[in-house]
Point group: C2
Chain length 182, copies 2
């Protein structure tokens, strides 16, 4: 039994969508009382810190409907079916940026919003990039613009708030830490 | 008009809960086609990188129902009503850890899961901590255990995957970067 485990008394399926499902659970708390938990089920996702030969990071700008604005993020996307996360990372990198890579390695995996969602992002670092002549294209409802910037510029964009996406912060900070260790 | 803006054609309110709301929107894409967006509305949250006099970070372990396991995170919680984020940070720090602080400063704000949710977390750093004799207690459905560890231990826990929460990674990496600059 996990610490402070909450026993599920009842699960109500509220919504089943293309990307997320929503459940409301009645739970028994450690003190015997009951409460409700609102839970988003997500298939999981991948994100890629892709570093070019020039030492720039590959970013994508895309419109994010929940915030009604464009955000600058590292390439990312959800897992399709039972897709292997590394395959998904390579696929998203190609679809969103037109790059393939010779080296790809898992940095870490993290939960984005554990208070209400089970989304787990697997973060990879991709190096030895090569522009493909005929890359697979992105999802037909996805419009992205490519931006390649130096580590210094990316760090400035974090400080100024121009980059304000959690997975992108984690990736850029990781890269900063790696660079400062060298 | 924002780049690649998606025009809302119709909004369907699916669920309105204690913490999150769910909408499905029909949108018009930049190419004139239509698509659906599943969107979680969240009130926003705060998180606190609290550093003790001994140079340890204050973490809390709590059960996270979406993952059915306990996670180790920095103190955090959602905004209540029109609460000022800094007041919320001080409140969550007191409720979850029993600490007050003399210094608190905003580090940055970030979106946790911009693909499907509008949750914005305001991340603060709190120093000059003081244990309160009679702290306000946590929400009655919240059970947390306090853990205080060094920067080195926290970094090890990130590498090993024992810490796997996005906001906590961002906070610890920020702390590492600040320390390495000194």
């Amino acid at each position: 039994m996990q610490k402070f485990e909450e026993k599920t008394l009842k699960t109500e399926e509220i919504f089943s969508g293309k990307i997320i499902n929503l459940q409301v659970q009645d739970v028994e708390l450690p003190n015997g009382k009951t409460s409700k938990r609102e839970i988003i089920k997500h298939p999981g996702a991948v994100a890629v810190l892709a570093i070019t030969e020039d030492g720039n990071v590959v970013l994508v700008e895309q419109y994010r409907k929940p915030m009604e604005k464009s955000l600058i993020e590292i390439p990312a996307g959800k897992l399709e079916g039972n897709e292997d996360p590394q395959e998904a990372a390579l696929r998203e990198l190609e679809e969103e940026t037109g790059y393939a890579c010779k080296n790809i390695e898992l940095i870490t995996s993290f939960y984005t919003a554990p208070g209400f969602a089970d989304e787990l992002i697997h973060l990879y670092i991709a190096t030895d990039l090569k522009k493909l002549e005929n890359p697979k294209s992105a999802d037909e409802d996805e419009f992205v613009e490519l931006i390649e910037v130096s580590l210094q510029k990316a760090s400035e964009w974090i400080k100024s708030g121009k980059i304000c996406d959690a997975k992108t912060l984690i990736a850029i900070q990781y890269w900063q830490l790696q660079s400062s260790e060298r």
